[in-house]
Symmetry: C2
């Protein structure tokens, strides 16, 4: 079996590991699976060949023999189902770990993406300065609840799982705003994720792409 994913030829974050291929690379490293990467320019992502793989014209995608998937959450979930190491075997613990994957993507990530929109995409708009604190407070409200649930545990529900992989990846996107640091147990949780050998290999692999000499 061979696995191929897609990633940015040049990530908009310059290699900080925030592009979503890092989440898939991390999952594959936790599962001990080798993979190939096809790099795409922004132009190529919007062309028919890639839209056939991902109708929203984004990276990452995932191909293995006879199967093509898009959407980071679905790809990480597929890897976690297919290979050992990312989901508990016990059915109830497994359902709870999957719950944290969805919570990361649908409850915690949206306000964090909104913060990115407010700071960067709408950073030059006349309302930017007045709106930013509102958006920041929505992120704080979610992180306060998550921080209360995590408490002083290492991971969200027992051993490290795909739920933690996704939550750490989502929280990383809140770090540059300074808001993550307001919740020391969450900042420590993210640091524990980053310290995992699989994460470090995934991070290094995406960094190598983004610091390579320009193609051609």
């Amino acid at each position: 079996m061979s696995i191929t994913i897609t990633a940015f030829e040049r990530s908009p974050d310059g290699g900080k590991g925030l592009a979503r291929d890092t989440r898939v690379r991390w999952a594959l490293e936790e599962a001990g699976q080798p993979y190939a990467v096809r790099l795409l320019s922004f132009g190529a992502m919007k062309e028919a060949a890639h839209l056939a793989l991902n109708p929203f014209g984004q990276i990452p995608t995932y191909e293995e023999d006879g199967l093509a998937l898009f959407e980071t959450g679905a790809i990480v979930f597929h890897i976690a189902q297919r290979f050992a190491g990312l989901l508990p075997v016990d059915a109830h613990a497994r359902a709870r770990a999957i719950t944290w994957m969805f919570a990361a993507l649908n409850t915690v990530e949206p306000p964090i993406l909104d913060l990115f929109t407010a700071r960067i995409l709408e950073g030059d708009k006349p309302w930017a300065a007045e709106r930013l604190p509102l958006v920041g407070d929505r992120v704080r409200s979610r992180l306060r609840q998550l921080s209360a649930r995590l408490g002083d545990a290492d991971w969200l529900d027992g051993a490290f799982s795909a739920g933690d992989l996704m939550m750490v990846s989502v929280l990383l996107r809140a770090r540059s705003s300074g808001i993550l640091a307001e919740f020391p147990n969450l900042a420590a949780y993210v640091a524990r994720g980053e310290a995992r050998p699989a994460y470090r290999r995934a991070f290094a692999a995406q960094l190598a792409v983004n610091t390579a000499p320009p193609p051609g």
Copy 2:
């Protein structure tokens, strides 16, 4: 086995079916599973007893013998795994149906929620009128891509699945803005979802709660 979910004692939408318990009711109806509902006031949702079930203080939650879950996507997925009727048996088709669940929740829903924020939560802000078209165009951009993928098919990938259940539910939240109607094949897709007997039973059940005389 007995299933209990939670829902708003009074939904903020007054019974339009947009609260997330409708998605879980719909899944349970498709699976032919009876369920009980525990209704919660806004106050009770933020109390310790409910926060133990859902750390973000939201509805719905899901309890069956010995298992407690939160997060709509995870609950619908659990129902779809546990009972027949919502996911294909073929492994590849199943992975693709799950992909659409994640795509609905993490790619299509966030800009639609943003539209809600811009229209309602920030509707009285000085930037509201100028910002709204920007946010609307982000929704249009996603729906244009989804519309191109759906084409004239009935459902997103073969037979109706939990992926369609989630996508229809998410798109319903864009209808009142008028943007859904700009994409006739998506509007027809949503109408096909609403016409399913299971959806109609779910909708009627949440409407009955929201049109009942006030408690006490």
